[in-house]
Structure formats: C-alpha cells, structure tokens
Amino acid sequence: MSLYLDIHKHFRGFKLDVRLDVGNDTLAILGASGSGKSLTLGCVSGIIKPDEGKIILNDKTIFDSKNNINLPPQQRHTGLMFQNYALFPNMTVRENLCISQKSNAAEIDDMLSKFGLERVKDLYPSQISGGQQQRTALARMLLSRPAILMLDEPFSALDSHLRFQMERELLDVFHNFDGTSILVSHNRDEAFRLCERLAIFNNGHIEVEGKKSEVFANPQTRTAAILTGCKNISRAERTGKGKFFATDWGIELQCNKLDDAVKFIGIRMHSITNEIHNENSFECRVAQVIENPFSFTVMLIPKNARENLRPIGWEIEKSLWHKVKNETVNVCLPPESLLLLRD
C-alpha cells in the first residue's frame, strides 16, 4: 500500500511541483492556504490533470504523462472528503451511503450504527448537524472501498468541542484503514495528533517531509518552523565558529552546529528556561505579559539590545511565573533547543 507521485502543473500563475512517496502511513500535509495542498489531492483523485508527471497508487499507474495514462476519477478508486463534505443534498443519509454500490445492505447498516447515524438515516443532509454530516461523508467514503483516504481540512467547519470528538473518531478510521491516508490541514496540533508523517507545503512544493517528531524537532526551514508553531524567529548572521548574531533580537547566540545555509534562527516559546547556564543567558526586560488559560506568555527584550527590536516570547507555567515575576528576568535560550533554519 503506497502512493508515489511526481507531478508538475502551471495553474493561473501558480507553479505546482510536488514529489512524494508515502507507504502504509498517515501523512499530514501542512501548509498555508494557496500552497497547493488541495490541488495535489485533486491530482491524485483525477479531478485535476497535472501538466506532466506520474502518479502510482498501490503499484498501479493512474497517471503518467509520458505514456499517456490518465485514468478518469471513476477508475482510480480514491477516497476524497471535501472541506464542505459534498453530500448530495437531494438524497437522504442512507441514500448517500448507498451511492457507490460497492457495499451490501448489511455493511451499510453496520456503518450507520458505527457512526451513530441510525436515527438520522432517513433525513437529508441539510437536516442534520455538522458532526453528523461529517460522519456521513466519512462513512460514504469508506463504503466506496477506496485504495487511499484523503481528507481536505476535515475539521474546519466544526466548533472546537466537536472537533476533538471527530478527531478521535478519525483516529480510529485511520487506525483501521489498510492503506495510505492523507490529511490536509493548517493546524499543527491536529496534524501531529492524527498522523505519523508530516509534509510541509510552501508555494507549490514540499519543503520538508519526514516523521512528525523529526520535523517538529528540526523543521529545517523558516516556513516549516512557522507551520509547526514556532513563534520566535529571527534573521541570523554568522559571526564565528558556532556563533551567530540574531539580528531581530539583538543578541549573540552560541550553538553547536551551524552551516552557511542557515539564514534564520528560531526557538519555541516553551523551550526557553530560567535556569541559568553559561551560554546564551540574557537579562531581559519584560515588555508585555499575556495570560493564557493555563500559562503566561511573557514578551522579553534583551537588556543590552536596542529598543526597536522584536521581543522574544516565553511561555511559562503560571505557578513558576508567580515565583520569578519581576521587571527584568534572566532567561536562557539553550543551544540544543535552537532551530537552525534555511529560507
């Protein structure tokens, strides 16, 4: 069970250039809107035709521009759930599930009970809740026996409580599905919770791809750092061996590994500590304190830096902040927590 794709497409001044090789995993595609995520899913399912390239799904070539292969969507057996679910409004929940005619009545009834849709099976999509609509769309996709599951921003239409519940149900779906699953998202938390691998999309190509823990630990590029939730990013200039100047923060930092490709430096808000080491410790002025439900975000400006610089955000537990609270604080940016980033 795998998906291989290498596709190129010019589309209204936008250039899509994607190479991807996924096994029997769940992959999350993270990217800003307009970065080509949905376009890629469209190419796999066959509703959009790439200009050139190749797509192989479970060892079957479904698109190959060199050999003139372009299977219509009907013959690709993919599963794609749209952001708005695309349920057929003139058909009841049950009729929506029956539509692909690849499952028998017993299987459909099983699916209805599994997703808790028995009570609404004779209602129309406009008469049921957002969560039920999403379950209907999921069930319809699974009953069509797809070779791959693709979900385009599945939670964007749900409120946060329902989102959490549907996330757990989707985790089960992914777990029980034998094949590649792809989730398109712009939410790093949901991507991390649901998937094993992560692909970072930027401007039509994949910037970083790998195991989720590795991508979060070492995002490699500025876009990947932003998309995985790193809030502190500064331009970096190399000043010596293992040393560089963080231009936006006005401080010199020490780090273990530094090469010439590094253009930015980042640190996650929770990686900053108030344990003082010899390296990378600074006395900072507190510029602003923002209270979160279970923590504080403290905006810091290094003491000897110039004024008009970008503050560094530090996320700290409430109890700890009450102990160290002051007009100036000493913090450390541990060398091992620094993210070294390409452009």
Partner: protein, 218 residues
C-alpha cells in the same frame, strides 16, 4: 365558438417548450464549461433573440424557411414538406423566441452548482450521465422548472415572428394572439374580449405556478 386557436396555441407552446427544454439545457451545460471569452461571445449570440424585436426574428426565419429560401426549398424538394404558412411553422417562431429564457435560467442554475458535488460523484465511481441526471439536475431543478414555465408562457404569447412565418388562417394556423389581433382588426370586439380573457387566465395560472416554485426555493 371555434376553439381551434386555443388548441393550436397550446400544442405549439407545449411542443416548443419540450424542444427548448432540451436544447436550452444542453446549450447552458456546454457553454458553462467553456473558457470565459468564448463563453461571452456565445452567450451574446444565444441571448440575442430575447432583445431583438420578434419581427426581426420572423424576418430571419422567413429568409431561411420560406419555400424559395435555403432550407425551406431544400426540405420542400426532398421531403415535400412546407415549413412556412402551416400550423407548425409557429413552433419555429416560439422556439427561437423562448430559447434564451430557458438557456439563461438553466445557465444560472448550473453556475451556482457546487463543483465538489460533481467531483465527489466522479470519485465515488458514478458515471457522468448518472451524475448529470441524478445529482446535477435535481440540484438545479427549481431553476430549470422556472425556466421551462417561463419559456412556455413566452411561447404561448408569441405574436410577431409567428404572424410572419405562419400567418393567420382561421382553423389552420390561427393562435390566440393572432386571433385577437384579427378579431380586433375586423371589429369583432366581443369575441376578441373572450380570447383576451382566456389568455389572461392562462397567463395568471402560469405566473402563479412560477411563484409557487420560487417560494419552494426558500
């Protein structure tokens, strides 16, 4: 009272509605998929009969379908069928004049269609024909029904092009609208009044039907 004009008007309007239903929907479906510039040009051509005076359309029809003209002569020679000055000539006039109404309402309905529904259907393995009749058409049902009724009403009220291509022969080509004009012209005011009332009644029913359908749209 001779009921021929009512029967003739209704059959002409019904037949032309059926023709316009299929041609209008087909034209709307295929133009909605064209690139913008070509779509604009074709749209103008297909909508033109709506804004041109019906007599201009009648003139074009006579130029094409008259017994000595291009199509008319060819049909007469090969099939022995006259295309002008017979009852069914009025169908040509009604079709041409009511086509834009069907075409435009259907196109509006197709353009408001959620593309993802079509994509979903294809991905789920449904054939394009099935998708068109079982998903797209029900989705656009209200717009298309309203378009059909409007074209029927327009066909029923057609006068200008009809009077040119099929003329007025009592009991042979007379429709309600040509009859009213003839009765008025010959001073038969009371009979003209009767036909006016009949026409009013039909139009009333049709417009109420359109309103009921529009309300069903929510």
């Amino acid at each position: 009272m001779d009921w021929y004009p009512l029967v003739n008007s209704l059959r002409v309007a019904l037949i032309s509605s059926v023709i316009v239903f299929f041609t209008g929907i087909a034209a709307a479906w295929y133009t909605s998929k064209l690139p913008t510039t070509i779509k604009g040009i074709i749209d103008v051509i297909l909508t033109l009969p709506l804004v041109l005076p019906p007599t201009v359309m009648g003139y074009f029809l006579l130029r094409l379908l008259g017994p000595k003209r291009l199509i008319g002569a060819w049909i007469l020679e090969n099939f022995g069928v006259r295309l002008s000055m017979v009852w069914y000539s009025a169908i040509f006039a009604s079709v041409v004049v009511s086509f834009p109404l069907m075409y435009r309402t259907a196109r509006g309905a197709f353009e408001s269609l959620d593309k993802n529904l079509v994509y979903s259907a294809q991905i789920l393995g449904l054939s394009n024909t099935y998708t068109f009749w079982k998903i797209i058409m029900p989705y656009c049902k209200k717009g298309i029904t309203a378009g059909t009724i409007l074209s029927f009403a327009r066909a029923l009220g057609e006068y200008g092009a009809t009077s040119m291509i099929s003329g007025y022969t009592p009991g042979r080509t007379a429709t309600i609208s040509t009859t009213v004009y003839q009765l008025w012209r010959t001073g038969n005011d009371s009979l003209a009044m009767k036909w006016v009332l009949i026409n009013l009644a039909i139009s009333f029913i049709v417009l109420i039907a359109v309103n009921i359908i529009e309300r069903g749209r929510k």
